[in-house]
Symmetry: C2
Subunit: 340 residues, 2 copies
Amino acid sequence: MKEHAVTIYDISKQAGVSIATVSRVLNGSDNVSEATRQKVLKAMEESGYTPNAFARGLGLNTMKTIGIMAADSSDPYLAKGIYFLEQLLRGEGYDCLLCCTGYSLKNRIASMELLITKKVDGIILVGSNFVYEDDADNKYILDAAAQVPVMLLNAALDAPNVYSITSDDYTSMYNAANMLISEGITDILYFFNSRSYSGRRKEAGFRDAMKAAGLSTGDGTLQFYRGNREDVPAMADLLEHVWDQGHHFEAVLASDDTLAISALKFAVRKGIKVPEELSVIGYNNSMLTACVTPELSSIDNRQETLCQHLTATLMGVLGGNEMPKQTVFAGELIRRGTTR
Amino acid sequence: MKEHAVTIYDISKQAGVSIATVSRVLNGSDNVSEATRQKVLKAMEESGYTPNAFARGLGLNTMKTIGIMAADSSDPYLAKGIYFLEQLLRGEGYDCLLCCTGYSLKNRIASMELLITKKVDGIILVGSNFVYEDDADNKYILDAAAQVPVMLLNAALDAPNVYSITSDDYTSMYNAANMLISEGITDILYFFNSRSYSGRRKEAGFRDAMKAAGLSTGDGTLQFYRGNREDVPAMADLLEHVWDQGHHFEAVLASDDTLAISALKFAVRKGIKVPEELSVIGYNNSMLTACVTPELSSIDNRQETLCQHLTATLMGVLGGNEMPKQTVFAGELIRRGTTR
DNA sequence: TTGTAAGCGTTATCAG
DNA sequence: CTGATAACGCTTACAA
């Protein structure tokens, strides 16, 4: 199982040329006569030669690899992003080194260093939770950016060699709240589970829409869920608790489809009719929207578009071009059965 | 941004020792006096030295990387597997190169070769869809196994240097069907969307349970869904169509949670009560089970356990130990609200 | 305990 | 168009 691997020397011998020539045909150089090229190609074919990626990496100082970091690659939303990115990058000839970092900063710093050590050509941070509120905590991003370009999917940070691609979460949430308000709904519960960069943008959008309509956002209008991100029943419990405390609401505007799904579960428990008595809007427009009845209205943040743009930008940067530091795409509310 | 990288030579000079010594402290060799070790460590610290991974890879012929292949890393079930594996492998000091191959054999062969070319230390195929019914189609796995160990998560293939870790899908499905039958349910619809290795095992389990009970599995008892794996409404359409054709059923036994969810959607459309008039059982025990009301009964195939075992086995193989070629774990039906 | 020097398999720079 | 030959940065016998 470990025969002596065939190298460029073997090929050069077998084809009766120098290793330089072999290397040339390997890299598609023009300066090779068709005759020799064929000789070399034939030798490669016959001996089943595969160039050694490490040696090549050493020479070229790259192995065409991009590091992808995500808190949890099984989170449906992040998983989609990773999937799109992997496909796109592969199309550009790059492989992806995946790093699931969890949510602890310490872990993230370690992962970042590891990727740098492995000499990836660029790093993509998938998910807004990588950008912290406290600037000091974002130092690890700047440090990495000193070595390789860092791309932020769904988060923004203004720093040298970091590029941000985001959906306009603020406006999306503002518009969604506004739509509810324009239907005469005033008791809106804002349900969220993250204070990440985009989490804060969303929240601001909601608050501003309420303020613009002269509505209060006091006492329990915003509910933060801090438990497990997959535990839908626990989320429903929280809503039930709020309701039982006497805080009734006519709509739930959630920062995530999972939270919105839990509102539906809550409604069933309480016998509240959706959407007649309760409107529900989620975020991310994930496959979960189709899993429930009625189907969930949700804000689509155009992940695939963001990923395409991110990849194109990264390729531009790696190609030595000047690229836009921040790009923002508009989101869109997809209306389904949980809104009137 | 591209200062001449600091190498082992710089350190050796700065510490006043040879590069061999530097290399020794780098690799934690015993044969270094504490005094010199400190000198070297200090030099490294001061100059912010990071060993070049490519050079090291060239010398050691490994970069401690495992290739992970999956059809679609955003499929919730596969995503979970990838997540567990990545965590476990990182714990062992390995990084993961992710390859989303889709379902076409051609693509898979290419991805496989690519991973081999990049000189990964092992390859993990996540998902039973990598093992085809026609043995000739599995040649790409054997070819890869000639170079590096290949691990199969949830699929089995008997070949040199390939190791299979599976859940006993046959028995799980057999038992689930049996449970329904023992409750007096005879009109069971088996709803599936894959003819992969584990897909075939599940189907066989269902068929055998029916046969053992003297029940027929003719005319439409098994329904194959061939559309998009996320399109729940389309799945519900199929069930509705079957029902409207006059084939009524008292239970849906699904090969996947998504399919089971669609049965719930179908039931709501038709006003059929679950579980009183219709029992539903899914497979994978994913987070989807908690998203619906009533919550979905589902078969847990112990992904995390499988992943742990897979990782341990792979580490054993890489360590040169003899390891079991095939391991089977039992699954378990988690009963929730969609079964009586 | 430490140093010298020979790889590891490419790429790239020069001459020819 | 082609061939020597020097990097690339590290590991590892083999000497000392």
